[in-house]
């Protein structure tokens, strides 16, 4: 386990997992310590065991081994300890929300609060305020939109005063617009209530936006784990997602918003980036941008004005090539942050690229439609 640079990870909430589970033909075998608080992303393809792992931690899935949060032992097969799900202080947010259809929104929230340990440090008012659900309280859960359902489900989970949040693809059943709306809420509750969270997703952008720490899972085994920025650049991720999906995470600070063209102006290590955004941004907030390698091309001289608006100057730090692929992966240092670009090997030869060269990175599209990090 690599130490992360996130200062919040220095304090407690260490989750120790040593797990073996067999579900039909599938084998899960995990041995890992996850630092907290903050959000830990659990990324993998469908069937990689992400949900099974979450279900083992929650106590829904029978398994052997250890699940320990700080000094609370939830499972220790060797010592015969196995707390049933309802005695584990976990909050589970399901892909399909699973609100109780016989109760109103208020009834669902009250169900959780009534069973929560006292005194409740997370209050009813705080939750409905943070998640903007005060207007829904009297509604029947059957008529809520997908995004509203998940907000209510998040609220219900928070009111159970969990020590750990397990988010099992809470966005995957939503349309793009609802996803974009919900993502900031997840970030906000983890920050506001200081609850460590495990966030499962098969969309790397979601993990890139939310997670401080990322674990890659494949066929029930951990392939890589560490700070999200490091894992996003790891070769294991490329193996998992294929070349087209690999990329790097840039962090920028909002310095302006152009409402005419709906562009957020970002300061990224002293250079500026204009990012189209549908959701409003506030000045001085930090945004994380996941930029795919295939969306970055390079030039050795300052390019002429073109439709590509974002040009970052940096230093070429690595050229990754293999004989099997016609492409090369370039790693570019932009004032301490890294960008990766995917160009043909022929281009590398033609431009006569070498490490330590000064290089212009042309960013075609910046996939930013969410990801608020106040």
């Amino acid at each position: 386990m690599q130490a992360t640079n996130d200062p919040r990870c220095a304090s407690g909430n260490m989750l120790t997992l040593k797990l073996q589970a067999h579900v039909e033909d599938f084998d899960l075998s995990i041995s890992e310590q996850l630092p907290g608080p903050g959000i830990c992303g659990l990324f993998g393809r469908s069937g990689s065991g992400k949900s099974t792992l979450l279900r083992c931690i929650a106590g829904f899935q029978a398994c052997r081994g250890q699940v320990i949060l700080d000094d609370q032992i939830w499972l220790d097969s060797a010592r015969g300890i196995n707390l049933p799900a309802y005695q584990r202080p976990v909050g589970f947010v399901f892909q399909d929300a699973r609100l109780f259809p016989h109760l109103s929104v208020h009834g669902n929230l009250a169900f959780s609060l009534r069973r929560a340990p006292r005194p409740a440090s997370i209050t009813f008012d705080e939750v409905i305020d943070t998640l903007a659900i005060s207007g829904l309280l009297e509604r029947s859960v059957v008529n809520l939109s997908g995004g509203e359902r998940q907000r209510v489900a998040l609220g219900r989970t928070l009111l159970s005063q969990p020590s750990l949040l397990l988010l099992d693809e809470p966005l995957s059943a939503l349309d793009t617009q609802s996803k974009a709306e919900l993502l900031p809420f997840i970030q906000r509750i983890c920050d506001a209530f200081k609850i460590p969270a495990l966030f499962v997703s098969h969309a790397i952008e979601e993990v890139a936006q939310l997670a401080d720490h990322t674990v890659l899972l494949e066929q029930g085994r951990i392939q890589a784990a560490g700070a999200t920025t490091e894992v996003l650049e790891s070769p294991q991720l490329t193996d998992l997602t294929g070349r087209t999906d690999s990329g790097a995470l840039l962090t920028g600070r909002v310095v302006g918003y152009d409402s005419t063209y709906q562009l957020a102006m970002l300061d990224c290590a002293g250079q500026s980036l204009a990012v189209p955004t549908m959701t409003p941004v506030t000045i001085a907030q930090t945004l994380k941008l996941f930029i795919r390698s295939k969306d970055v091309s390079v030039a050795t001289t300052e390019p002429q004005p073109s439709s590509i608006r974002n040009v970052l100057v940096g230093t070429l730090t690595a050229i990754g090539t293999t004989d099997e692929s016609p492409f090369a992966e370039l790693s570019i240092d932009i004032g301490g942050q890294y960008l990766s670009a995917r160009v043909t090997r022929a281009a590398v030869a033609d431009l006569d690229l070498h490490t330590q060269d000064r290089i212009y990175a042309l960013v075609k599209t910046v996939s930013f439609d969410h990801g608020v990090n106040p």
Partner: protein, 223 residues
């Protein structure tokens, strides 16, 4: 003249049987809905037997079981001082066997539709097993419970063959409506038979209307 004692006895029998089966049937239906394997198939088949067996067959074997010479009949006699054959307690016993599938099957169906999802959600919110049953399973299966209770009650009211075999025709003990109708017809007392028969017809129609009207709405979506 309406034979009130037969009606009262029938209602008592149906009421007691429904109450007993509500507990036994719920437990059995829960087990059947949540377990799988060879034992599951055997129990499911045994539960459904009264649906396919002629009541006389069921009654015949129950009569043998209830006999004071058989272990069950003997134990009962020793415990209560009363026989199971030709007695009200014997009828309750027999009705519980006979009406079992009518309680178990609608409940099992309701529990299966419910699935694990809402129970896991409740468990993650700190609800223990009993809490989950009363505050999640029960309210979400209320239609299943309504159907099961109504069908069990109505089916016990209409019971004939089994009663005749194990209970006979003792006024205020085992002479239920269906037995009274049978005897009235046998003794050519048609007017009396008509009154009771029409009563049962009306009752059955009302009961089925209640069940079908209650089940008309699509099942609630979970989640």
């Amino acid at each position: 003249m309406i034979e009130w004692s037969a009606i009262w006895l029938t209602l008592q029998l149906a009421g007691v049987t429904t109450c007993i089966l509500l507990f036994l049937g719920t437990a059995l239906a829960w087990w059947l809905a949540n377990h799988d394997g060879p034992l599951h198939s055997l129990i499911a088949a045994l539960t459904a037997m009264p649906l396919v067996l002629p009541p006389t067959v069921l009654g015949f074997y129950l009569l043998l079981l209830f006999s004071p010479n058989a272990p069950l009949g003997q134990t009962w006699l020793a415990l209560t001082g009363d026989t199971l054959t030709f007695s009200f307690s014997g009828l309750v016993f027999a009705s519980c066997v006979y009406s079992l599938p009518f309680m178990v099957q609608p409940l099992q169906g309701a529990f299966e539709v419910l699935g694990r999802a809402p129970l896991e959600a409740a468990a993650s919110l700190g609800a223990g097993p009993i809490d989950r049953f009363f505050n999640v399973v029960l309210p979400l299966s209320k239609r299943g419970f309504l159907t099961a209770i109504v069908l069990t009650f109505a089916h016990t009211i209409g019971e004939f063959g089994v009663v005749l075999m194990v209970g006979g025709n003792i006024p205020e003990q085992t002479r239920v409506i269906s037995i009274a109708i049978y005897e009235n017809v046998e003794t050519l007392n048609y007017a009396q038979a008509h009154t009771l028969a029409a009563l049962l017809m009306t009752f059955s129609l009302v009961v089925l209307l209640v069940v079908y009207a209650g089940n008309k709405r699509p099942p609630l979506r979970i989640g």
